[in-house]
């Protein structure tokens, strides 16, 4: 049972290393998907937003990780 729990935790940990980064990434994917498929945004603009959004999130997350706790 403990091992199953550890495997489940490992699987979740693979994709949810840092909650804020995970939630923000999912939000960007959801927003781009909605704008492209339901509002008719040019797919290339959506693609650029997806790429730049992910790059921005990555840098922000790294910088946040470098800040001491409590800041």
């Amino acid at each position: 049972m403990t091992m199953l729990r550890e495997i489940a935790a490992e699987l979740i940990g693979m994709f949810v290393g840092e909650t804020r980064l995970t939630v923000s990434t999912l939000a960007i994917v959801g927003a781009v998907g909605s704008f492209v498929n339901f509002i008719g945004l040019n797919p290339l603009v959506g693609g650029a937003a997806l790429l730049l959004g992910c790059l921005g999130l990555l840098v922000e997350s790294v910088l946040r990780g470098a800040r001491p706790q409590g800041w």
Binding site: C54, L63, W71
Partner: protein, 248 residues
């Protein structure tokens, strides 16, 4: 016809990611073997490999039934989350904010834990050692399976990606058999950095395709994405180093 512009990154991503995971699993299996002998270590490792093979045999046929767009989107999002997580950690390690992965320290910690178990109970020790090896191979192996499926399934590259993973296993086992100690000199963080870059680039690519975005340059767009993620990771690490020094 296989496109090498996408097959080469897929195979190298599978190889390098598997190399990192197999090194981690090997350290623990070696610790088990050193303290309790090769029998429980090999038994645990083989049992884990059998379980992993079962997972692959179960999931493989199911993947063929999923429409390609949905498969690309699902795998793309998972790759993005996984790849950016690795890249974030590798950047923070490169910046000196979090400690580097140390195979020697892990070997020592695992050996201590097994010795404590030996003092607590004398019975079933081989069983406990086998379970330790099984757990290590299973947990690291699950990541390898995911990476192989993720980089291979979107374009029918499962076989080349699997060969990349098998090659990594062969390399680690061959080197491990020769030197017979933890592979602490493998530049693990650099490998993780590179793999994080590739997986993130694949993630954006598949997610976009799954959302109906036709990338200009098709597969070649992957190279641009990888270059941008590399720049973002290195830039983030450099800024994080400066920031952590300001706070120190």
């Amino acid at each position: 016809m296989m496109s090498w512009s996408i097959a080469a990154p897929a195979v190298s991503a599978a190889f390098l990611a598997s190399l990192v995971e197999v090194v981690e699993a090997f350290t623990i299996v070696l610790a088990v073997a050193t303290l309790r002998g090769w029998r429980p270590a090999v038994f645990g490792a083989i049992a884990a490999l059998a379980l992993l093979a079962g997972v692959v045999l179960l999931l493989g046929p199911l993947l063929d039934r999923v429409p390609i767009g949905s498969l690309q989107l699902a795998i793309g999002v998972l790759l993005l989350l996984f790849g950016m997580g690795w890249l974030r950690k590798a950047s923070l390690r490169a910046a000196g904010v979090i400690r580097l992965h140390d195979e020697d320290a892990i070997f020592a910690a695992e050996s201590t834990e097994l010795s404590k178990q030996a003092q607590r109970r004398q019975r079933n020790l081989d069983w406990a050692a086998a379970v330790t090896a099984l757990k290590a191979v299973l947990l690291e192996g699950l990541e390898v399976v995911f990476i192989v499926i993720a980089v291979g399934a979107g374009r029918g590259l499962l076989l080349p990606a699997s060969l990349g993973a098998v090659a990594a296993c062969a390399v680690v086992l061959a080197v491990g058999a020769i030197i017979h100690r933890p592979l602490s000199r493998v530049p693990e963080n650099s490998l993780k950095f590179g793999v994080g870059v590739m997986l993130s680039a694949f993630g954006v690519f598949w997610t976009g395709e799954g959302l109906g975005i036709a990338w200009p340059g098709q597969d070649l767009a992957l190279l641009l994405f990888a270059a941008l993620f590399l720049a973002a990771g290195l830039g983030g690490a450099s800024l994080a180093r400066k920031r952590s020094m300001e706070f120190a």
